[in-house]
């Protein structure tokens, strides 16, 4: 193609294709655009070429001379195509607008959570009245995947945490000659706080995310719609078995991690020269039943929270493949946030009732 700047005349070659159009596109956007186009030679023209011709003729307002009828026919469908709107600009909004949007978002999210809790409670109560309504096989399958399959990772985390705490506290306590109290420290911290929290976080990462992804994919594929129109309540079909599994599995997993964590602490102490019986007697004297129960009650609540949030985020999934990823992330983040928040509430309550 040749452009004569003086006469404003553009002469086209035999072909007009993407490679050339990319080089000469500035002709249609810039200030100095052709007024006349000699297209007599033009024989073949691809989509980019057509776009070039269209822009020359339309927005640039050039005259197309000698255009072959085949090519004119290709151009005809675009006669009424409106001009491209300008590139959408991200206009920055004021801080106030951002705060407003965020507030509305949080309120809507809270509302959705309350609705979910209400709906879940009513479904769960119905299931309590008629246990036949629960899909037990699904529940066992989920329980196995969330529980049995998590034994290794949950166990490792607790065992190592127990060991680390024992190592870290042995030296300062030895300075006071009370290193046997390492047992109190490790056992109480694990049983009351760390055991339930770590187990719940592992559960959130392994199972909460899986619930969200699973249900989210079903949502994207309209499988949830299919359930609803078949008259099957997704709450009962999908959510109840998962939450029930979370409720049953988490305390067991917590007791197991507590035991391994204390075992890790014991191992370190025995390495430092304490006999097992001394450690055991110290443990029995240090730990009251209320400490064990505190951890288990918490873990029950955490289990329900993590499973419930996973399902809720799954059900809230929008459209498209990336929405599933968003839901999964949200499930884990919300779970961890809720675990810590609820734990703080528990701490206040237990302090108030002197447990």
């Amino acid at each position: 193609m040749e452009f004569n700047r003086k006469t404003g005349c553009l002469t086209l070659d035999e072909t007009l294709e993407a490679a050339e159009v990319s080089r000469r596109w500035s002709l249609v956007g810039g200030g100095k655009s052709p007024r006349e186009v000699n297209a007599a030679a033009l024989r073949t023209c691809d989509g980019a070429g057509l776009a070039f011709l269209w822009s020359l003729r339309g927005p640039a307002g050039a005259r197309l001379d000698g255009l072959r009828p085949e090519i004119a026919a290709l151009l005809r469908p675009f006669d009424s195509l409106p001009e491209c709107p300008a590139e959408p600009v991200e206009h920055d909004r004021s801080l106030l607008v951002h705060i407003g949007h965020a507030t509305v978002q949080i309120l809507a999210d809270t509302r959705a959570q309350i609705e979910f809790i209400g709906e879940f409670t009513s479904t769960a109560l119905a299931c309590c009245a008629k246990p036949r309504l629960v899909r037990w096989t699904d529940m066992w399958l989920v329980a196995q995947r969330a529980g049995v399959d998590a034994l290794v990772v949950a166990g490792m985390v607790s065992f190592l945490t127990g060991m680390i705490m024992a190592f870290q506290s042995a030296i300062p306590l030895r300075q006071f000659g009370v290193d046997i109290f390492v047992v109190n420290l490790v056992a109480l911290a694990l049983l009351r706080e760390l055991g339930p929290i770590m187990t719940a976080v592992v559960l959130a990462g392994r199972s909460g995310s899986a619930f969200a992804a699973e249900i989210g994919t079903m949502k994207v594929n309209q499988e949830i719609d299919a359930l609803v129109t078949m008259g099957i309540d997704p709450m009962r079909f999908l959510v109840v078995p998962r939450v029930l599994a979370g409720f049953l599995v988490t305390p067991v997993l917590t007791i197991y991690s507590n035991a391994l964590g204390v075992g890790g602490g014991f191992l370190v102490m025995m390495g430092l020269g304490f006999p097992f019986m001394a450690l055991w007697n110290q443990l029995v004297s240090a730990v009251a039943m209320s400490d064990v129960m505190t951890g288990i009650i918490k873990s029950l609540v955490f289990g329900v929270l993590v499973a419930g949030v996973g399902c809720l985020r799954g059900l809230q999934t929008g459209a498209g493949a990336s929405a599933v990823g968003v839901s999964t992330t949200r499930a884990v983040v919300s779970s961890i946030f809720l675990i810590v928040t609820v734990d703080a509430v528990f701490a206040a309550i237990f302090y108030a009732i002197q447990w």
Partner: protein, 257 residues
């Protein structure tokens, strides 16, 4: 005599041990509209996946413009892939991109067109399928038939020499479907695009097809090949005629137009 653009030689298509098509051979000529027919589940989509190189033949070979996509090196493969565009039966649009972005994606990757040019080309492709007003919509925000049309627009993004369309008019209303036929014919005539179409719509087959082949699930092969009107009137196979007359194969013959 120009060489055929697609050559299929003794192709056997199988999923594991389940053989779907056996010993199939045919050619698609340059610049024709070639339609693959057959009952549901007889292996039309499977055949198409072999043609475009998604599945490799159990036996036999598929040549596109003389090149075998299964034995090609990486560079050869890229050249071959740019020769055709595909519209999948389910649309397969990218859900996290607008329709316009779906169309511009390939241009972004394979051409050096400036953004404004890419957007204009995308909008022109969308205009061809009647979707210029929806370029900013996401696939989940348009109807099923519109998704189909957008998928055709995406397949055309790089102006391929061959377009594969898997059931383009299923789910479209008769008017839009006729518009699509016109589009196919216009692209075929004016740009010389070769089409390989899987279709059931008799009206559109008569309107666009230069040649058809009909697959059969029972014999796992081609039971008829030729010009549709000719097959309807002269094919000895009762199943083929039943297909063209839209009736159950064992219904009594006669009395049809």
């Amino acid at each position: 005599m120009v060489s055929p653009i697609i050559e299929v030689r003794n192709l056997t298509a199988a999923y594991g041990d389940a053989v779907i098509l056996e010993n199939v051979s045919f050619d698609v000529r340059r610049g024709e509209v070639f339609v693959i027919l057959g009952g549901s589940g007889c292996g039309k989509s499977t055949l198409m996946k072999h043609l475009i190189g998604l599945l490799s033949p159990a036996r036999g070979k598929v040549l596109i413009d003389g090149g075998d996509i299964h034995t090609a090196t990486r560079a050869e493969r890229e050249v071959l892939l740019k020769k055709f565009g595909v519209m999948y039966q389910g649309g397969a649009l990218f859900g996290s991109m607008t329709l316009e972005e779906n169309v511009t994606l390939a241009m972004e990757e394979f051409t050096r067109l400036p953004p404004a040019a890419r957007r204009l080309v995308a909008r022109m492709k969308l205009a061809l399928v009647g979707l210029e007003r929806f370029s900013e919509h996401f696939p989940s925000e348009v109807s099923g038939g519109m998704q189909k049309r957008a998928a055709i627009a995406r397949a055309m993004a790089l102006d391929p020499a061959v377009l594969f369309l898997d059931e383009p008019s299923a789910g479209l209303d008769p008017v839009t479907s006729a518009g699509l036929d016109e589009l196919i014919l216009s692209l075929n005539k004016n740009l010389g695009v070769t089409f390989v179409i899987v279709s059931h719509e008799l009206a559109s087959i008569y309107a666009v097809a230069d040649r058809v082949i009909m697959l059969d699930g029972k014999t796992k092969g081609i039971i008829a090949e030729g010009v549709p009107a000719d097959l309807r009137d002269n094919c000895p196979d009762p199943f083929v005629r039943a297909f063209f007359y839209r009736r159950a194969p064992d219904a009594p013959s006669g009395g049809m137009p």
